[in-house]
Amino acid sequence: MKLVVTVVGKDRVGIIAMVSQILADNDVNILSINQNIMDGFFNMVLIAEADGSKVKLVDLQKTLKERGQEINVDIKAQHEDIFNVTHNI
């Protein structure tokens, strides 16, 4: 299963480090990262492979959400199929 992780919030040091550490701790492998800063706002879309992971998606979502709140960024993790169905036939 592939995951799409989106992160939005005010830029600061260590956002990517934190997100990638959480994913690594849960055996989720990062496939691609697209990130930019617009007007001081951090914006990232990360695609990852979770097949080797034992963590439940809802638990991973909860961890990302909570850790994101600590540094004032909004982190979403979604099953990639929601994007496949809306953009591919």
Binding site: V4, V45, Q78, H79, I82, F83, T86, H87, N88
Partner: protein
């Protein structure tokens, strides 16, 4: 491969434009619950519902979290109780409604539909008992929804039932007067009712359906409006194309949710209902789509044409995105549940007569309309007869869900709360009576299907 722009667009549709899946509805057959003893029957109904739908809400919540798409309602529909309870030796089905209510609360759904009767051609034994039980059943339960199908294109209209339903609506309003006649918001009178509709209050599990089935109702008026905002001044070919593309995306999300729910619950997938279902929230309105097309306020001349285009384009776009389409499928125009409709009624641009015209081209009918409490039963029956005639002649589903709020007058506004919304009292032209017409009874014969002018 999905791109970053695709991901942002989809998440914007969800967060900014209120894209959601409106409902996952599990249809459950109660035909094996029959028993002459009403208490035993109620126990069978309770057991069947709680066993079949035990994991429905949890499954819906899991899908919602994993895909990041809100699923607003999880609901249950059952075999019309007039059929399921027909063998009971009793003169009231109120205890059955109470058993349904208890079961719905146990499994955590927010409505249960199927306190229903199908009487388009005449009344069977159970139909009479059910219709007489409706007011008390709706007054003594919280989550039970009721519907009566009293006409169809193939059979004509049961005018005896039309007369009775005017009375039933009035009695229901009276028994729930301390809640602004909320009982009437849970009662739908249909012509050509589909047996696979997942939307309340009119959902029931049709007699031709499988043992259990999951169906999904999509939504997304905000997404369609947003797409049209980028098409200011474009001609109608482009407007229709834009709506079709948007409806396709919305429906694909519904199909994904339906497929997952079916797989996880081990229950066959029924249908996707391609409906634009509004809510009272700003940015989730069908009326605002019509206005985006260039009508200054919903109800002005051109509204019916705009709605016809919208309804048709939604179906064309959605059909290809789903393996099975059914239910009501179209645009809903429930007044109290649509912020733009409420506004249009308040400003006087939208009248009940214009709403009636709009029901000729949209998916349901006169829906969630609050009227003065002293409107007579015969006038309400007249409204029901008119809507049923539109459905019968045009070979489509039509329905009436009007709420005669006791004590309320034109100029007042009533609150139903939550997704049922709020509504100014809509004026009804009832200075002239329909009494003698409604008193006739009998059946309006089935219509001719050719020479259709």
């Amino acid at each position: 491969m999905i791109t970053v722009d695709d991901i942002r667009e989809t998440n914007d549709m969800i967060t900014e434009n209120k894209l959601d899946v409106r409902t996952i509805t599990m249809g459950i057959s109660l035909r094996d619950c029959a028993h002459p003893n009403i208490d035993k029957f109620c126990q069978n109904v309770y057991d069947k519902i709680t066993k079949s739908a035990e994991f429905l809400v949890k499954t819906g919540e899991d899908i919602e979290a994993e895909y990041g798409i809100p699923i607003i309602h999880k609901r249950v529909s059952v075999t019309p109780i007039a059929i399921a309870a027909d063998a009971c030796k009793t003169d009231s089905y109120v205890p059955v409604a109470e058993a349904m209510d208890k079961a719905a609360k146990e499994v955590g759904v927010n409505f249960i539909g199927g306190f229903s009767a199908l009487v388009e051609k005449g009344f069977a034994h159970g139909d009479r008992i059910l219709i007489n039980s409706i007011p008390q059943a709706l007054a003594s339960t919280d989550l039970v929804c009721s519907s009566v199908n009293l006409g169809s294109t193939k059979t004509g209209i049961n005018m005896d039932c039309v007369r009775e339903m005017g009375e039933v609506v009035k009695r229901t309003a009276e028994l729930t007067r301390d809640q602004q006649a909320l009982g009437c918001a849970k009662l739908v009178v249909f012509c050509n009712a589909p047996g696979d509709n997942p939307f309340m209050a009119g959902a029931f599990h049709g007699v031709g359906e499988a043992e259990t089935v999951v169906s999904v109702g999509v939504s997304g008026p905000g997404v369609v409006k947003h797409a049209l905002e980028g098409k200011k001044g474009a001609d109608f070919t482009e407007v229709a194309e834009t709506i079709k593309k948007t409806a396709f995306k919305i429906t694909r999300v519904g199909q994904l949710v339906a497929r997952e729910a079916s797989r996880r619950l081990g229950v066959p997938f029924g249908i996707i209902d391609l409906s634009l279902a509004p809510t009272p929230a700003v940015g989730d309105s069908v009326a605002r789509i019509i206005e985006e097309m260039g009508i200054e306020s919903c109800g002005a001349p051109g509204t019916t044409a705009a709605l016809a285009l919208l309804n048709d384009a939604v179906k064309k776009g959605g059909l290809m995105a789903s393996s099975h389409v059914g239910g009501l499928s179209g645009a809903f125009i429930p007044v109290s549940e649509d912020e733009g409709m409420i506004n249009a009624v308040s400003t006087g641009s939208l009248s009940i007569e214009k709403l009636e015209a709009m029901t000729c081209v949209c998916s349901v009918g006169l829906d969630m309309i609050a009227i003065e409490g002293d409107t007579s039963a015969a006038t309400i029956s007249g409204i029901i007869a008119d809507e049923a005639a539109i459905g019968m002649i045009n070979n489509k589903t039509t329905a009436v869900r009007v709420i005669p709020v006791p004590g309320a007058k034109v100029g007042d506004q009533v609150e139903f709360g939550g997704l049922l919304g709020y509504c100014p009292i809509v004026p009804v032209r009832n200075q002239y009576s329909s009494d003698a017409f409604i008193a006739r009874g009998g059946r309006i014969p089935a219509p001719l299907r050719s020479l259709t002018n």
